[in-house]
C-alpha cells in the first residue's frame, strides 16, 4: 500500500485520459464556484422562477449569438431605444394646442429580420386626453402609420410586429433581404393643454440571437440555468454516489465480517431491493409524496444501496477476511470495529475509487431523467429542467434549447467516465494490458 503513491504518477502519465478528464472536471468545478459567487442561489431562483418582469426586453426563443458564425447573414441582436435619450421637440399649433414629437432613431445594420418589435410606454396627462400618432419611418424615407388613438394613463405596450408583418416593416425585397440603414419610430402627440404631459417609453427591436446561450419560451436567459445547473449536477451526482457507495461498502463489510444472521439479513434485503423497480418507485415518490431535493436524494440513495454492488463488495471482503494480516490483527486483540475500519475497508478501497467516479455521471443523468419525467427536484435550476422544457421547442426548430443542456450533460458524463475507466485500469492490474 505504501509504495502506491510513488507508482501512481508514472501510471497517470501512461494514461493521458486521466489528465484530460481531470482538467475538464476542474473546469466544471471552477464554473460552479464562479456561478455560486456571482449569482447566489436565492437570486438565481428569484430571477428564474419569480420575476417575469426581468425578462421583458429579451427575445423569445432565440439561439445564442455565436451561432451567427455559421450563418451567411447575421441575425440581429436586440436593439433598445429609450425616449429619455432623445430630444423632445415642441411645435405650437394654436394658442393652447401643440404637437410634441419624439423621434426614436436607430441604425439597423442587418439584412435579416428581428424576431419582434414592441413599443412599451408609460403615459400621463393633465386633464384633457391628448391624441397620439405612432409612425414607422424606414431608411428610404417611406413612412407607415402604425397607430392613432388617445391613450389612457398608465403603462401599455404597442406590439408593432403583431399588427404588421416584419417583412413589411423592414421592406424585405424579392430576394428576402431586409433594408438596412437608419430606422425611426416617430411618436407625435397632439396635446390640448400646456402642462401635465409625460411620456416615458422604449422601443425594443428584439434580436434573432441572444447572449451566449439563447433564451427559452419565457424569454429567460438560458445561461443562468446552464451555469447553475453545473454545481447542482456536481453536487447531486457526488452526494448520491458517496451515499450509495459508502453505505453499500459498510453494509458489505459488516455482513461479511459478522456472517450469520446479520449477513443473511443484508443479503435477503439486497435481493428484495434488486427486485423493486427503481425508476417507477422514484416517480411515485416524486408525484405522490415530495419533490424536495433532500427527500428525493434520500430515496435514491436508499433504493440504490441494495443492488448488485453490495454483493460484489461482499465477495471482495470475503476474500480479504481470510488474509493472514486480519488473523494477526485479531491476535493482538483488535475489536470488530477496528478490523473493519482499519484493515478491511482500506484494503478494498482502491476498487471503490473507479466505481465511485463512474457512479457520479449515473446520478447526474438520473437527475436529468427525473426532470424529463417531471418529477425532478423542485425549486432548483438544473440541466434536466432546461432539457425537459426544450423538448417542447423541438417541434418548432429550437434545437439549441435541447442541445445545450444535452451537450453539458455529455461533457460531464464523458469526463467522469473517462476518468473512471482509466482509474479502473490503474487499480485493476489485470486490465492494464488490455
Amino acid at each position: 500500500m505504501r509504495a502506491q503513491p510513488k507508482r501512481f504518477l508514472p501510471t497517470v502519465r501512461r494514461y493521458p485520459t486521466i489528465g484530460i478528464s481531470l482538467f475538464v472536471i476542474c473546469l466544471l468545478v471552477g464554473v460552479s464556484i464562479y456561478t455560486m459567487i456571482r449569482l447566489p442561489l436565492s437570486e438565481a431562483l428569484d430571477l428564474w422562477y419569480e420575476n417575469p418582469d426581468a425578462w421583458v426586453d429579451t427575445p423569445w426563443c432565440v439561439p445564442p449569438a455565436w451561432t451567427n458564425l455559421f450563418r451567411k447573414a447575421d441575425l440581429p441582436e436586440t436593439i433598445i431605444v429609450y425616449t429619455g435619450d432623445v430630444e423632445q421637440t415642441t411645435e405650437p399649433v394654436t394658442a393652447t394646442t401643440s404637437r410634441e414629437t419624439l423621434l426614436l432613431t436607430y441604425d439597423y445594420d442587418f439584412t435579416t429580420l428581428p424576431s419582434e418589435v414592441t413599443f412599451f410606454y408609460q403615459f400621463s396627462y393633465g386633464t384633457k386626453r391628448p391624441q397620439m400618432t405612432i409612425t414607422w419611418v424606414r431608411p428610404d424615407g417611406s413612412e407607415l402609420e402604425l397607430w392613432r388613438n388617445s391613450p389612457r394613463r398608465g403603462s401599455s405596450r404597442l406590439m408593432i410586429s403583431d399588427d404588421i408583418d416584419l417583412e413589411e416593416l423592414f421592406a424585405v425585397d424579392a430576394n428576402g433581404v431586409a433594408l438596412d440603414g437608419p430606422y425611426a419610430l416617430r411618436i407625435s402627440i397632439l396635446t390640448f393643454e400646456s402642462e401635465g404631459l409625460w411620456i416615458d417609453g422604449r422601443l425594443v427591436v428584439y434580436g434573432g440571437v441572444y447572449g451566449l446561450a439563447g433564451t427559452d419560451g419565457n424569454r429567460r436567459d438560458l445561461m443562468i440555468a446552464l451555469l447553475w445547473g453545473t454545481p447542482v449536477a456536481l453536487m447531486f451526482g457526488i452526494l448520491a454516489t458517496i451515499g450509495t457507495t459508502i453505505i453499500g461498502f459498510i453494509l458489505a463489510a459488516i455482513g461479511s465480517w459478522f456472517g450469520g444472521w446479520i449477513d443473511a439479513t443484508i443479503q435477503r434485503v439486497t435481493e428484495v431491493g434488486m427486485m423493486i423497480p427503481f425508476l417507477p418507485t422514484i416517480m411515485m415518490v416524486g408525484m405522490f409524496y415530495s419533490r424536495n431535493l433532500w427527500v428525493l436524494l434520500g430515496f435514491i440513495i436508499g433504493l440504490n444501496v441494495f443492488t448488485g454492488a453490495v454483493k460484489s463488495y461482499r465477495a471482495m471482503f470475503l476474500q480479504v477476511k481470510s488474509a493472514p494480516y486480519i488473523e494477526a490483527a485479531r491476535a493482538y486483540g483488535a475489536g470488530n470495529g477496528r478490523i473493519i475500519s482499519r484493515y478491511m475497508i482500506p484494503h478494498v478501497a482502491p476498487v471503490l475509487l473507479p466505481q465511485f467516479v463512474l457512479g457520479v455521471p449515473r446520478f447526474v443523468f438520473l437527475e436529468a431523467s427525473l426532470a424529463l419525467l417531471g418529477v425532478g427536484p423542485a425549486n432548483l435550476i438544473t440541466w434536466g429542467n432546461v432539457l425537459a422544457d426544450g423538448r417542447n421547442g423541438l417541434y418548432m426548430g429550437f434545437f439549441y434549447w435541447v442541445l445545450e443542456p444535452a451537450f453539458l450533460l455529455v461533457v460531464m458524463g464523458v469526463s467522469f467516465s473517462m476518468l473512471g475507466y482509466a482509474l479502473d485500469r490503474v487499480f485493476n492490474p489485470r486490465l492494464r494490458d488490455i
Partner: protein
C-alpha cells in the same frame, strides 16, 4: 424438448464423456431423467425464491405509493366528491343546512366503509397486494375514481388489467429487438476487436467508449434532433404513421421505420459498455494455455474463437445480457416517453400524471414481474450453459 434434453445431457455428462457411450441404453435414460428432475427442482426452487422477493418488492412499492397518506387522501376526496354529486337535486332542497350536512357525512362515511377505509392501511395494503398480483384492480372509472379515467388505446376498455396488458407487447417488441441487436453486435464486434487486438481500430474504439456514456434517452433526444428535426427522414416518435397504412406489409414497414430511432438510441447507449466488457473477457481468456495449444495446433481463428473462447465466456455474457435486459425495462420508461412509443413505460408516465394510483401500482407490479422473470430466465440459462453451476436439486456449495 428433445433438443433441450440433449443440451442437458451434454451439460450433465461432460466430464465422463467417453464413459457415456459405454453405458447401456436404460442406464443413459435413467441418467437423463435424473438430470432433468434435478434441473426442474433447481428451476422450481429459484422461481419460488424470486417469486417471494417479487411479492415483497411489490408490497414495499404499495407502501411507498401511500407515503404520508397522499394517495389515500386523493381516493377519499374523489369518493366524497362523487357522494356530493349524487346528493344533488330537488329531493334534497327542502332539507335544512344542518340536516343536509348530516346526510352528507353519513353517506360519505358509508362510501368510505364500502371502499375499505374503515380498516387500517396495514389491512388494506394486503388487499392491494392481492389485487396487484392478480392485476384485478377493477375499473378506472369506479374503483379508483381519481383524476381522469384512462382507457386502453385500442379497445377503449377502462379495466385496469386491459389498460396495462394492452401496451405490454409493444414494449416487449421494442426492447427485446433492441437488446438482442445490442447483444449480437457486441458479441461479433468484440470478437472482431479481439482478433485485431492492439491495432488502430481497436485502440480507437476503446478510446471512444466513454464518449457514449450517456443514457439511451439522451441519445434519443439527440437522434430526434438529427434525424427528425434537421434531416426530416425519420419520424419524431409513435408506432405507425397516422393514419395507419393499409395492408399488413405496409403496416409492418411503417412500424419498422418508427422503431429505427429508439432501437438506435438503445444500441448506441448500451453497445460500447458491453463491447468493452466482452473484449476484456475474451482477451483474458485468450491467454489461457488451451487457447495457445489450439493456436499451436494450427486451428483456424474462427474455430478457436467459437470453440475455445466463446464457451468459457458465455456465462459472463449471458449475465451481462440479462442485466441489460433488466435495465431495459426501466430504461423503457424514459425511452418510450421521449419517443412517444405507447408501451408500458409511457403508460406509467401517463398514469402518474393522471393520479391513477391503481394503474401505477399495477404497472409497477408488471415491472417487478418482468424483473423476476428475467432473473429466473438468467438462472435457467446459466444452469444450462455453465456445467459448473450445480443443478443437482439446487444445492449450493
Amino acid at each position: 424438448m428433445r433438443r433441450f434434453c440433449g443440451i442437458l445431457r451434454t451439460t450433465m455428462s461432460r466430464r465422463p464423456s467417453r464413459s457415456s457411450s459405454v453405458l447401456s441404453r436404460s442406464q443413459r435414460g435413467r441418467e437423463t431423467r435424473r438430470a432433468l428432475i434435478g434441473f426442474l427442482r433447481y428451476v422450481l426452487i429459484r422461481s419460488i425464491a424470486v417469486g417471494i422477493t417479487v411479492v415483497v418488492g411489490v408490497y414495499l412499492a404499495i407502501w411507498i405509493s401511500n407515503l404520508g397518506g397522499v394517495a389515500d387522501q386523493w381516493h377519499k376526496d374523489a369518493i366524497s366528491e362523487m357522494v356530493l354529486l349524487g346528493l344533488r337535486g330537488p329531493a334534497y332542497s327542502d332539507l335544512s343546512a344542518e340536516e343536509f350536512r348530516e346526510l352528507v357525512d353519513a353517506t360519505v362515511e358509508a362510501a368510505y366503509a364500502a371502499h375499505g377505509f374503515d380498516r387500517s392501511f396495514v389491512h388494506r395494503s394486503f388487499q392491494y397486494l392481492a389485487e396487484a398480483l392478480s392485476l384485478s384492480f377493477g375499473d378506472t372509472r369506479v374503483g379508483g375514481a381519481l383524476g381522469v379515467p384512462m382507457r386502453a388505446g385500442m379497445t377503449g376498455s377502462t379495466e385496469v388489467r386491459d389498460i396495462i396488458l394492452e401496451p405490454l407487447p409493444r414494449t416487449v417488441l421494442l426492447f427485446c429487438t433492441a437488446t438482442l441487436l445490442s447483444l449480437l453486435l457486441s458479441l461479433f464486434g468484440s470478437l472482431f476487436l479481439t482478433r485485431r487486438y492492439g491495432n488502430l481500430i481497436d485502440r480507437l474504439s476503446t478510446l471512444l467508449i466513454p464518449v457514449f456514456a450517456a443514457p439511451p434517452w439522451l441519445h434519443g433526444v439527440v437522434l430526434i434532433v438529427l434525424f427528425a428535426s434537421v434531416l426530416r427522414i425519420l419520424p419524431y416518435g409513435g408506432v405507425v404513421d397516422a393514419p395507419p397504412p393499409d395492408g399488413t406489409f405496409a403496416y409492418l414497414l411503417s412500424v419498422l421505420k418508427h422503431m429505427i430511432l429508439p432501437v438506435m438510441a438503445w444500441v448506441l447507449a448500451t453497445l460500447p459498455m458491453t463491447l468493452y466488457a466482452n473484449r476484456a473477457f475474451f482477451l483474458i481468456h485468450s491467454k489461457e494455455d488451451y487457447v495457445e495449444l489450439a493456436r499451436a495446433k494450427g486451428l483456424r481463428v474462427g474455430r478457436i474463437q467459437r470453440r475455445y473462447l466463446l464457451r468459457p465466456v458465455l456465462p459472463a455474457i449471458i449475465t451481462q445480457f440479462t442485466l441489460t435486459l433488466i435495465a431495459s425495462w426501466q430504461g423503457a420508461i424514459l425511452v418510450e416517453t421521449v419517443f412517444g412509443w405507447p408501451g408500458i413505460g409511457s403508460l406509467l408516465y401517463e398514469a402518474v400524471y393522471r393520479n391513477q394510483v391503481p394503474v401505477v401500482i399495477g404497472t409497477v407490479t408488471v415491472f417487478a414481474l418482468l424483473l423476476g422473470i428475467s432473473v429466473i430466465a438468467l438462472d435457467v440459462v446459466y444452469a444450462l450453459v455453465d456445467p459448473r453451476v450445480r443443478i443437482g436439486g439446487g444445492r449450493k456449495r
